[in-house]
C-alpha cells in the first residue's frame, strides 16, 4: 500500500465519521437560544457633529449584554457613549446605530479591549455632589470586592469655543472632554464619588480609618496616587480593612 493510498483512506475515514456525527446531532438547542433570545429595544441613534470626544471606545467591539430580566445576549457589536451615558448597538449588516434602552440593561461587557482584557460596565445607582438626585449610570468596574471601584466614563462640554464666523456672527460650539468620576461602592451598595484622588482626599473619605490606611499604605509601599492602576491597588489595600 503506497503512502498516497493510506492518505486517501485516512481522509475518507475522517470525512465520513465527521458526517456521521453531524447528521445525528440535534440543532434544537441553538434554535431555542436564538428563537427565544430577548430582543434589544431602543431608539435609532442620530449622530451629532461635535467637537472633542464622546465615546470611550471609538470603534464598535464585540460585547455581551446582560438584561434586567436576567437574559444574556452574546456577541453584539456595541460601544459606550459617555456624553449620553448610553450603550449603542450596531445592527448587523446595516449602518443603523441604536441607542439601547437604559432601563432594560443591567450590565454589558466588552469581550476584549486593545489590551486583551474584558471590560465590564454595570448600571449603578449613585448619589453625590455631581448629581442633584440619585441617578443610575453605566460605570466601568475596575475592581470588585467588599469595597468595589467603578469609574463613570462621562464626557462633558468644557466650554463653548469659537469655531467659525459667518455673516459677522460668531458660531461657538462646545468641546467635549472626558470627565471621569470614580466611585467606591460599599458592601451595602452605597457609593462614594470622587473626581480627583490624592492621599488627603482618601483620608477625608474614610476619616475613621485614616491611621489604618496610613499604616497599610506604608506596609504595601503605596506611594503613588496618580493613575487608575494606582487607584485599583489602593482599593485592594483598602479591602484589607474590615
Amino acid at each position: 500500500m503506497t503512502r498516497k493510498t493510506i492518505i486517501i483512506y485516512a481522509f475518507s475515514i475522517v470525512c465520513q465519521l465527521g458526517l456521521a456525527q453531524d447528521n445525528n446531532s440535534c440543532a434544537c438547542e441553538d434554535s431555542i437560544r436564538s428563537l427565544f433570545e430577548s430582543k434589544l429595544t431602543g431608539e435609532v441613534y442620530q449622530p451629532m457633529i461635535l467637537r472633542g470626544m464622546e465615546f470611550y471606545h471609538i470603534n464598535y467591539g464585540d460585547g455581551t449584554i446582560i438584561l434586567e430580566n436576567g437574559d444574556t445576549i452574546f456577541h453584539h457589536q456595541i460601544r459606550y457613549n459617555g456624553r449620553m451615558d448610553a450603550l449603542l448597538y450596531l445592527v448587523p449588516n446595516t449602518v443603523h446605530e441604536i441607542q439601547l434602552d437604559k432601563f432594560a440593561i443591567k450590565e454589558f461587557d466588552f469581550n476584549e479591549n486593545q489590551n486583551y482584557q474584558r471590560e465590564v460596565f454595570r448600571k449603578i445607582r449613585v448619589k453625590n455632589d455631581f448629581f442633584s438626585d440619585t441617578a443610575e449610570v453605566f460605570s466601568q468596574l475596575l475592581y470588585e470586592d467588599s469595597l468595589s471601584l467603578y469609574v463613570f466614563r462621562q464626557y462633558v462640554s468644557k466650554r463653548d469655543q469659537l469655531v467659525a464666523v459667518t455673516n459677522d456672527r460668531e458660531i461657538s460650539k462646545p468641546l467635549y472632554v472626558p470627565s471621569f468620576i470614580y466611585y467606591f461602592q460599599l458592601r451595602n451598595r452605597k457609593t462614594i464619588g470622587f473626581k480627583k484622588f490624592k492621599r488627603k482626599d482618601l483620608f477625608d473619605l474614610f476619616p475613621e480609618h485614616k491611621e489604618t490606611m496610613k499604616k497599610l499604605f506604608r506596609e504595601n509601599r503605596q506611594r503613588k496616587f496618580k493613575s487608575e492602576s494606582d487607584l485599583v491597588q489602593i482599593t485592594k489595600i483598602l479591602n484589607q480593612i474590615n
Binding site: I8, Y9, S12, L17, I32, F36, E43, V91
Partner: protein, 603 residues
Amino acid sequence: MKKVFLYNIVLILLLFNFIENAVGQIFKETAYSEKAYLHSDRLIYIAGEDLFYNFYLMNGSGKPDVRSRFAYLILRNEESRAISEICLNLKNNMASGSIYLPDTLTTGSYQIVAFTNFMRNKGEETFCTNEIFIINRFDKDLNKLKLNGVVNQQRTFVDSNLIANSVKASLLLTPEKTKYVQRQKIRVGIEGVNISSVAPISISVHEKVPISGMDFFAPLPRGNTSKDSSSFVHLDEQFDLQTFQNLLRKVSVSKKEESHCLYYVEANGVILQGIVLNSDNQQGIGNATVFLSTPDTIANLQFTKTDNFGVFRFLINHSYNGKSIFLRCMDYPKASIALDDKFSLKSTFKPSKYAMNPRLIPYILKCQNIVNIQKTYQIKLSKEVSNQVASNKIPSRVYPPKANTIYPSDYVELPNFFEVSREIIQSLKIRNKHDMYMANMLNEKTHEFFDSPPLIFLDGVPIENIGQIITLGSDKIKKIETVSSERYIGGMYFKGILAVFSKNMEINNVHWETPHRLIQPITPNPVTIYYRPGFLNADVDYQHKPDFSQLLHWEVLTLQANEKKYIEFSASDDIGEFDIEANGILSDGTPVSAKAAIKIVPN
C-alpha cells in the same frame, strides 16, 4: 493504477457509509431523551376525592442532566376524553400535587398520562401512563356494573424493564408498632438498603384493599368492543387541531431530515407553538410576522417570524401567568392562525377488561360512605401552598417607563379620538382621507412628522390602525402615552409609538381585519400538598369532627445513601388494616419499593 485507486475509494465510501449508519444509530440512541415517571397515592378512588401524585423526570440515558422544567398531566376516561389537564412546574426534576376528581365522574377506568413537550418528539408511546379506577359516589348497585377497569399489578413505576433490575437496591419500612388505636400518633422509619444515590420516595398510607392487584376484578374475554374514539377535541378548536396535526406531520417528516426537533425542551417557560396558514390552500406561510401581547397597563410586545413551514413559537414566561394572550399575524390578512394543543393525544386509552369482583363490593361501599361523611364535614386533604412561581420577568416592554403621558381627564371632554389628538396630543397628527384615518407621529429630533404611521397600542396590545380607536372619546380613555422617536424593537423599526389605555378594556371591542387569536395560555398549576388536620397540627376544630380518612398520609421525601428518616402522622376514626407503601426512583433510574402493614383498632 489510477483505476485501482478509484475502486479503492468507492469501496471505502461504501464501507464507511455503513459505518456512518451504525455510528449514527449509536449517537441517536445516546442523544438526549427524557423519561417520565408517575406515582399516585392509590389505585381506587371515589369521585369527589383528591388524587395525589408525584411526577419525576429523568434523562433517558441515565445521566443527571434533565433540561425540561415543565411537564403535563392528563387524566382521561375510557372514551379518551380529558377530565383534567395540568401543567407542572418541575423543581429538582420533580413535581408533586393533587388532582381533584369531580363528583360527577362515572364509574370506570381512567388513565393518567404524563409527559414533557420534548417527549412528544418520540411519540406518545414514550409517555408515562398509569391506569386507575374511579367509582362514582352514588353507584350503589355495584353487582350490575360491568367494569372496564383496572389496574397495574405492580404498583411501582411504569418502566417494567427497570423493575426487573430493581432487586439490588431496596427500601425498608419499620413502623414502631403494628397496632394503633383511632387518632393515635403513628411513627414509621424509612431507610434505604444499598441505596447509593439521592432518591425521591413517595410514601402513601391508605386503607388496605381487601383483594390485591389484578384480583380486584375478574377478567372478561377481550373483544373488539372498545370504542375507536378519537382524542379529545375542543369543538371550537377542532379546525385548529386537525389542520395543525396534519401540517405538523408533514413538517416533522421534513424536520427529521434536518435533525431538528419539532417540540422543543421547555426550560425557561412554556412554549406556545402554532402555524400560520394560507386560508385558501391550508399551507403554512413562511416568514410571516406574528405578534404576541397581553392586555396590560404596560404596552408590551413579542414577535417572531414563521419558519419555512409556517410554524412559530413563543416562550411564555411567568409574567403571562393568568393573563389572556393576543396573537396576530400582521402580513397576511387572509391567513389564519392554528395552535398546537399539547393536551391533544392521538392515541386512545384502551382500558383493561375486567368485571367487578364481588369480594370488593363491601370495601367500595364503605369508601363511598366515608367520602360522603368527609364531604358533609368538609374535610379536604389537599392544601394549596403557593399560588404561582415568583419571577423577576416582566412582559416585554416596548418603550422606556418615562414616556410622555397625557391624562384626558385633565382636559375638557372630547367626543372622539380625532378631536383628542387635535386638541391635546401635540405630537400626533390624524388625517381623514375618504373615511380612512391616517396617523403620524412627530419626530422630536427633526421636528417633522414621520412619513409612516406609528405603532399603536390599545390597553397594551398593538392594533392595526388608528381607525380602530377613532370613536374613543376622552371619557373612555384613562391615559395616553407617546414616544416621538424612531423605535427599534429586535430588528423592527417603528416611526413613533402611541399607546392608549382605556378605562374599560376597550381592546375587547376592537374589530380586527388581520388574523388574530385570543387565548388563555397554559400556566403551571398551583402546588398542593397533602394536609390532614389532626392532633399533630393542633387543630381544635378537628377534635370535634369525625375523620374517617382512608388516606392517612402522603409525602414525597428524598433519601441519601444509608440515611434513615421518620415520618409521623395520625390515625383517623377509620378502623381496619392499612398499607404503608413507599415507591421511588434512584438517580440512576433504579426503582425501589417497600410495603408494611399496620392495624387501627377502636379506642
